[in-house]
């Protein structure tokens, strides 16, 4: 990852969302972006120019634009029309963002567009976040990474976030993912946790 001192940056065309610049690079704010927060707490997967990424819950394309600065191509799936309008605008200015308006719970509707990827990044406000991740695991190459940004408040507001965190990890393990890291994103984001997993090199192994 690109750091200038203790500031995380990405190198690409600026002005996407009036982000601040530093030495010609775009500052990637941990308070705005959960993925930036994950790097700031010292975890996460190193993004590289050869990576192919499937990004679920692309929203306005803010974090997407930073990921695209680092990687070869980002398949950006978003369901809601309003943020999709912004995402399309961001995609128009970058050759490596493929915007897809689809429901991440139904990969069969966009599977014919997406090749095998090295990283699945998921940040969706849905109750069944683990199920969505597992279903989209088909896009992941063996040994590939899944980063799940768990919004515990979207799962169940009545439950203790810590319990939801443990349950989600158990479900992912059950589905065959190998959990590498799990960490809360405090102080940057409240009640949000990140779970980093790998898909086993051989299915079922």
């Amino acid at each position: 990852m690109n750091w200038i001192g203790d500031v995380l940056v990405s190198r690409g065309e600026g002005g996407v969302y009036n982000e601040r610049m530093l030495g010609g690079a775009r500052i990637w704010e941990p308070h705005r972006s959960k993925l930036a927060a994950l790097y700031h707490v010292g975890k996460g997967v190193e993004l590289e120019p050869s990576l192919r990424v499937l990004y679920l819950g692309a929203a306005n394309g803010t974090t997407v634009s930073h990921v695209a600065d680092y990687t070869e191509v980002v398949y950006a799936v978003e369901f809601a029309p309003r943020p999709m309008q912004d995402l399309i605008e961001v995609a128009r200015r970058r050759r490596n963002i493929i915007p897809i308006m689809a429901d991440a719970t139904r990969p069969e509707t966009y599977a014919s567009l997406i090749e095998t990827v090295d990283l699945v990044y998921q940040d969706v406000a849905q109750p069944d976040q683990a199920a969505i991740a597992i279903r989209n695991g088909v896009f992941l190459k063996p040994g590939g990474y899944l980063i799940l940004m768990l919004k515990t408040r979207s799962v169940d507001v009545r439950k203790d976030p810590a319990i939801i965190f443990d349950e989600t990890i158990a479900v992912l393990k059950e589905a065959g993912f190998i959990v590498q890291e799990n960490v809360w994103l405090a102080p940057y984001h409240q009640d949000h946790a990140a779970i980093v997993c790998t898909k086993p090199a051989k299915p079922g192994a």
């Binding site: 191509v73 050759r95 493929i98 915007p99 069969e108 509707t109 014919s112 567009l113 090749e115």
Partner: protein
């Protein structure tokens, strides 16, 4: 056979899709594959297909068709008659908030200038207070009061438009509860389709989120009504049967919303029965 955005592959043989961008957009929007027998596309297949020349070309063409498809999906999503009504209702409710905030502030300001008038004016209606304020205040305060009046005028015009459009877009729901409240219910649900999918019990407490979550988290009593309280049948009902009226009304609204979404025209027989049933609940008779 495997179906991909760029063409079909059968037993290693690939036939590229030859339509234009528009046809390709229609194709990818309608594609749905069986995941258990599907293998993901590879760019090399598209090259061997003769569809594109290399990886860069593959991504360039994929991006072009995906952007076109996303644009079409967004356009279709906004083409429903409820899309603009939703923005109108939200604007209306935000204007109310702004007008109330500004009126409160202007009144406080005026009271500083005229301490003696404070209590007297509190009793008059907000609208008259603001007019007096505009007439009697010099400088910026008078202008602010004038702006509030302008806003209030725009608000009234917008409310009329909302009501008229709701009668058109959701005739059955509007007939039961009035255009304005019907539109608010729709806006809270996020559209006519989501409203039509809500159970009556959810419609009953739409807009009572705080009370509902307080009820779920602690053991406080459940809310009896949310937005539908704004309808006279609910708020005019005696306190002890208000919950019943709200429940019966919500039940009929759930049916009305489905009629509105799937049929889009008024259903007189349903409306008559529903009105009778709600009236009965209001009289305290349970059917």
């Amino acid at each position: 056979m495997q179906t991909y955005w760029f063409g079909d592959v059968e037993e290693g043989r690939c036939s590229p899709f030859t339509g234009d961008v528009n046809a390709m957009v229609s194709r990818i929007l309608s594609l749905s594959v069986r995941m258990d027998e599907f293998t993901l596309p590879e760019w090399q297949q598209a090259v061997s297909c003769g569809f594109c020349s290399d990886r860069a070309d593959y991504l360039r063409r994929l991006q072009a068709v995906c952007i076109a498809a996303a644009e079409r999906s967004v356009r279709e999503h906004y083409s429903g008659k409820d899309a603009e009504l939703l923005q109108m209702v939200r604007t209306l409710d935000e204007m109310d908030t702004v007008i109330n905030l500004l009126s409160e502030r202007a009144a406080d300001w005026y009271m500083v200038r005229h301490p003696a008038f404070s209590r007297k004016y509190r009793r008059t209606s907000a609208h008259i207070l603001i007019r007096t304020l505009r007439e009697k205040s010099r400088g910026a305060l008078g202008k602010v009061a004038g702006e509030i009046e302008q806003l209030a005028e725009t608000r009234t015009a917008l409310a009329k438009e909302v009501s008229a459009r709701a009668n058109d877009v959701m005739p059955n729901t509007s007939a039961l509860i009035g255009g304005l409240v019907a539109a608010r219910l729709m806006a809270h649900a996020g559209g006519l389709l989501p409203l039509s999918r809500l159970p009556a019990s959810a419609i009953q407490v739409l807009g009572a989120r705080t009370a509902l979550f307080a009820h779920l988290k602690t053991h406080s009593p459940s809310p009896k009504h949310g937005i539908i309280f704004q309808h006279r049948r609910v708020h005019n009902a005696p306190r002890d049967i208000r919950g019943r009226v709200a429940r019966v009304l919500a039940g009929k609204l759930a049916i009305a919303a489905r009629l509105d979404y799937f049929r889009g025209v008024a259903a007189p027989e349903f409306l008559e029965q529903a009105q009778n049933r709600i009236d009965m609940a209001g009289k305290g008779d349970e059917a």
